[in-house]
Symmetry: C2
DNA sequence: ACCTGAACACCGTTCAAGT
DNA sequence: ACCTGAACACCGTTCAAGT
């Protein structure tokens, strides 16, 4: 499909010029469609009708390209959360300015929850992003700004800086829309949830088998891969938010 | 140091024979010392005084080798937690056998907490393990058995199977000793936490700068990289355990 | 200023050949 | 049965050469 553009090689007549922007966008598209493993310099070059070596005129190398891809996702997240709480950061200042102990009738939980869910929607469009994010040695400015907003929300909600700090660690990646799905019980059971298979595993993993059996029984329509990632994400987020609210409430005035 | 062993090439006289066990152990050692990136078939072969292709007689390929490495870590975790709660899984059965609604005076929180911290100690010896774990398509049996034990502890503590299921998702990787450290505020600030630098960043990330400033001020000895990973891990774990206990308590008898 | 071709030093893996 | 050497199809990256 890029043939018509790539036909004219060096003249630059009808050809869209290469740019950092175009390189990054092609890489994101490939990663979205086929995973990060498919992102190689040669492949991205091919996608743009150009030799791999040409990319080096616009990005310093593979690592810089991955950095740019993360920046793109971070920008999308910032754009998604911007309309949700543009008053929150100001709220933090006025609440503290009012005299220290005051925690306004500001619904930090709902604000933070909405922010996390909005970020999650962006992450779901770029499932490679969490994995790549972890490998970055230097953090995207927009990611830092995202967390700055989280701090602003917590502070506006009456959290001390110390409790805010602990809260960032406790929430971890959940506050930016994903959690490491190390364990999906569906995978544990394999795709075979037949009675015989469950019985065979019962000696090795009796508690899991019983749990799976009961949950599957209560919701028969979803015996296979029945974990609703979205609602499980929300459950975990709410458990954390509840626990943090209790700690915040027990520190007011101290 | 392997020279003396590797000198005799084909006779097998004084030479330790290659085995799946030795291959795996060499790979784990290299990963512990230099990271997973250093684990290549050629490198592991070299480590064992053998050509890379010889490894294929004992492991199916690179992916199978990574599987074996994860299995090793999982086995270490199982060994570490085995002495902590060998009565717990039985406890689950008797509590349920007693008549359904009964939740014994069984300290599930302390049991689960100790389990997570013991697993964490193993993970800290193999910092590459979490990352590799995520890339596995099929889960190690010992990992599944670990989670089976977690289910046993929760059931013994009075959790319904449904709440147990949600709890697994909520705890995520924390219950097996690590949490995705996406965000370390120390990294955000960079290694330069000088007054001038903080001032320059204050416009971009005002809330973070203020938080960092205050936390650093309260604990001046640790201005740089002052996040205590261990206690932050424990804080997050406790927030979750508290929230889950509240939910468990509110469902007894229902 | 931007793009290219050839080359270098790496990968994982296959396969026929050795012993 | 186990190990090897050469080869294949990939990587990221450098560099001199083209226009």
């Amino acid at each position: 499909m890029t043939d018509t553009v790539a036909r004219d090689t060096a003249k630059g007549a009808g050809r869209t010029p290469l740019s950092r922007e175009r390189v990054m966008r092609a890489a994101v598209d490939v990663a979205d469609a086929e995973g990060v493993a498919a992102v190689s310099m040669r492949r991205i070059g091919q996608e743009l009708g150009v030799e791999a070596m040409s990319l080096y005129n616009h990005v310093a190398g593979k690592e810089a390209l991955l950095d740019a891809m993360v920046d793109q996702v971070a920008a999308e997240i910032m754009a998604a959360v911007a309309p949700l709480d543009d008053h929150a950061s100001n709220g933090a200042r006025s609440a503290r300015g009012a005299g220290g102990a005051g925690h306004a009738a500001y619904d930090w939980r709902s604000t933070l929850r909405a922010r996390a869910l909005a970020a999650r929607e962006v992450m779901l469009r770029h499932r490679w992003a969490p994995g790549v994010l972890e490998t970055r040695t230097t953090m995207s400015l927009d990611i830092v700004r995202y967390y700055d907003g989280v701090v602003g929300i917590l502070r506006a909600g009456g959290f001390s800086n110390d409790l805010t700090h602990h809260s960032l660690h406790a929430l971890g990646s959940r506050v930016i829309g994903f959690s490491q799905e190390l364990f999906d019980p569906g995978d544990a059971a394999g795709s075979d949830t037949s009675e015989e298979m469950l019985a065979a595993m019962a000696t090795q993993i009796p508690h899991l088998v019983e749990m799976l059996g009961e949950v599957a029984h209560d919701d028969p329509g979803s015996t296979l891969g029945w974990c609703d990632d979205q609602s499980e994400f929300e459950f975990g987020l709410d458990v954390l938010l509840d626990g943090l609210e209790r700690r915040r409430a027990s520190t007011v005035g101290s």
